[in-house]
């Protein structure tokens, strides 16, 4: 039982981080139709900026996190301006390659700035654990789950209760009609890139305290978030969150009860199965992909 609880909570926490990253994918995809492959490196950059703010600037931890989120929102906008806006009318392949280019640039900047040696971002809760049904659960995992829940709720409200959210969804469903309605496409894409950047930083500061920070920090979460987005049908917040939790749980429980050797592979097996059997995603009702 303890083992199950432990793996379950870990799976949910991991899935929660994937969800935050995947929501960034979703936002940008909705507003622009592209997948931003720089998302993983934005996660890493967010963690490094938080480390810099906490150690070099000696800011209190939450201040450092806030700096990271704000800085990454700005970086998101810069990526939109330099890697997306100039080529937005070009083929989708060009745009995706451009985001990959942005990813490489970010990675190179991190290596030049902070180097390749692993480092650490402190978490507000240290390594404290709570016992739940006999299982020792790191408090940081509970924090990750809690923050993600708040974040998902906030995004849901943003999407469904604000004009900005309606405009993003309108843009996602019919770009030409959205333009005819006066929705400022360029501004929407800047805002969503900025929001997605902030979300990446949030994922970065949530996950970094659970492990050493290296330049690869965001790569795994990005891959799993991508799988989660495919699972969720790249359409709705609910779909993406369910997809992300499924990925986290499959990884942990598959690793724990089937064979640990393939823990990294289960999520992708699941993704391929879903693509084969239900291409619109688990909760998807429509297939509309520019990728």
């Amino acid at each position: 039982m303890e083992r199950f609880v432990s793996l379950f909570v870990t799976g949910v926490a991991q899935g929660a981080v994937f969800a935050v990253v995947a929501l960034g994918f979703l936002l940008i995809h909705k507003a622009t139709g592209v997948i931003n492959f720089a998302q993983g490196d934005l996660v890493t950059l967010g963690a490094y900026i938080a480390i810099w703010a906490a150690t070099d600037l000696e800011l209190p931890l939450l201040g450092a996190y806030a700096v990271a989120v704000a800085a990454l929102a700005a970086v998101g906008v810069l990526i939109e301006r330099f890697a997306y806006a100039p080529i937005r009318d070009r083929s989708i392949h060009v745009v995706v390659i451009s985001t990959l280019g942005a990813a490489l640039v970010i990675r190179a900047v991190i290596v030049l700035w902070r180097g390749t040696s692993p480092t650490r971002l402190r978490g507000p809760l240290g390594f404290e654990v709570v016992e739940v049904l006999g299982a020792r659960i790191p408090k940081q995992n509970l924090l990750i789950i809690g923050v993600t829940a708040v974040c998902v709720a906030a995004l849901w409200l943003l999407f469904h209760r604000t004009q900005f959210g309606r405009q993003v969804r309108a843009l996602a469903s019919d770009r030409m009609a959205a333009q005819m309605q006066g929705i400022r496409v360029a501004r929407m894409s800047m805002l969503t890139f900025g929001l997605a950047g902030g979300l990446s930083a949030l994922a970065g500061v949530l996950i970094a305290p659970t492990r050493a920070v290296t330049v690869d920090l965001g790569f795994g979460p990005m891959l799993y978030a991508f799988a989660a987005s495919i699972l969720g049908g790249m359409g709705s917040i609910g779909g993406v969150v369910v997809g992300a939790l499924a990925i986290g749980l499959v990884q942990q429980l598959g690793g724990g009860y089937l064979s640990p050797d393939y823990a990294e592979v289960y999520p992708f097996v699941l993704m391929l199965l879903v693509i084969a059997l239900r291409p619109q995603g688990v909760l998807g009702s429509e297939v509309r992909a520019r990728l």
Binding site: S117, Q252, P260
Partner: protein, 400 residues
């Protein structure tokens, strides 16, 4: 034809004079305390040493000063005592990044300095990127990595390339042997990263564990960028010892997770990276380090061999920080080359290459060095964290 004859004569001369090497080496081994009297001969040109190592403030933000400080400390000693063959040793350090395309560029710059011997690099990526060019250039190199592909029988091996770190699989075996023989472990847990480093370490441990009659009770591997080891650590619940051949990041994560899962008391033996200064930062909480073990190349801070403590103190006095094993190894590398030059009374690349090839029993600060398969060091030390510093538990001289 003439040069070939000369070469073989030189080779013969060097080969015959192994004992002489040792004598010269012994003198220098005492390091910071003893001065070497310069033998009475004249070199036509001074010995030129060029390092391909990143220094702090250069291209690699994580560069540590240890390597170049070790080199400069040795050169200063030798030059103060009159240099080699009537000349002070000349030294240049060429900024060399740990990764990326600039590595080749650094090597080119280094070769333009007309070196008699290259010291470094200190990363596997860099030494692999340089190997072919170094072989073609015909300049001996002493790199500070465990990269097996540039060992004598490795696919990128060259008669010009030597390493002064003990082999990875040997160090991994030592972890297993220490667990069984010193800690009395019968049921052993293994963690390792899915890279050449982790896998070859794991295989070496498997063989050693079987040989010693113990048993692998749980085994878990993970990607180099694993974000969570809960499942792997939970699998270690009933083992006597955890052998962990991961990256510094994953070993740190395993230390944290073991503590969170209430398994901090299970002995946890990691690879050499446990001895890196940033390892404590990764773990994040110094108290979690207590009792963590690592297999490092040497531990100059706690080594009772003659002269080591004096060297350690002199280094701390001069540079103001604890020297890593890398500092000691690069210090030793200079003295190895100096001993070869003094013995052969020549400082050309081929002489140095032959001297390294026939190196046998040079006593240095970090180890006693002999060449085998173009690997010069064959000892490792098991260390344990105690009050934030590394305490030597046991030294092994037969690492392979």
């Amino acid at each position: 034809m003439g040069s070939l004859l000369a070469l073989s004569l030189l080779a013969a001369a060097c080969g015959d004079d192994d004992d002489g090497d040792d004598a010269a080496a012994d003198e220098s081994a005492a390091g910071g305390t003893t001065t070497t009297t310069a033998p009475d001969y004249e070199l036509e040109e001074p010995l030129r040493i060029v390092a391909v190592i990143s220094e702090p403030g250069g291209s690699d933000p994580n560069a540590v000063p240890d390597y170049v400080d070790g080199i400069e400390m040795a050169i200063a000693e030798i030059n103060e005592a009159g240099g080699l063959g009537g000349h002070p040793i000349e030294f240049e350090a060429v900024e060399t990044p740990a990764v990326g395309d600039e590595i080749t560029n650094s090597l080119n710059l280094a070769l333009e300095e007309d070196p008699d011997v290259l010291l470094g690099p200190v990363s596997s990526t860099a030494v692999l990127a340089m190997a072919e060019r170094v072989d073609a250039a015909g300049v001996p190199m002493i790199h500070n990595t465990t990269e097996p592909k540039v060992a004598g029988d490795g696919e990128a091996g060259s008669p010009w390339i030597f390493g002064n770190r003990p082999p990875n699989d040997g160090a991994a075996r030592i972890a297993a042997r220490y667990a069984v023989e010193e800690l009395g472990a019968e049921e052993i847990g293994q963690l390792y990263v899915n890279t050449a480093f982790g896998q070859s370490g794991n295989e070496a441990q498997d063989a050693e564990i079987e040989e010693l009659g113990a048993e692998v009770a749980a085994e878990r591997s993970f990607e180099f960028n694993a974000t969570d080891l809960t499942e792997a650590v939970l699998a270690m619940e009933d083992v006597d010892v955890v052998l962990d051949w991961g990256t510094p990041a994953t070993v740190g994560l395993a230390v944290n997770t073991l503590a969170q899962q209430g398994l901090a008391d299970v002995p946890h033996i990691g690879p050499g990276s446990v001895g890196f200064s940033f390892f404590a930062d990764i773990v994040g909480d110094e108290s979690l380090l207590e009792g963590v073990l690592g297999v490092v190349d040497c531990n100059p801070a706690d080594d009772d061999r003659e002269g080591v403590e004096a060297w350690h103190d002199a280094f701390v006095e001069e540079y103001g920080y604890e020297p890593s094993y890398g500092a000691a190894q690069m210090y030793d590398a200079v003295h190895i080359v100096a001993a070869i030059v003094n013995e052969a009374q020549a400082a050309d690349p081929e002489t140095i290459r032959q001297g390294l090839e026939s190196l046998d029993g040079h006593e240095g600060i970090c180890a006693i060095y002999s060449n085998e398969n173009n690997v010069l060091q064959h000892s490792s030390v098991v260390v344990r964290f105690e009050d934030g510093s590394l305490v030597t538990e046991k030294t092994y001289d037969d690492v392979g």
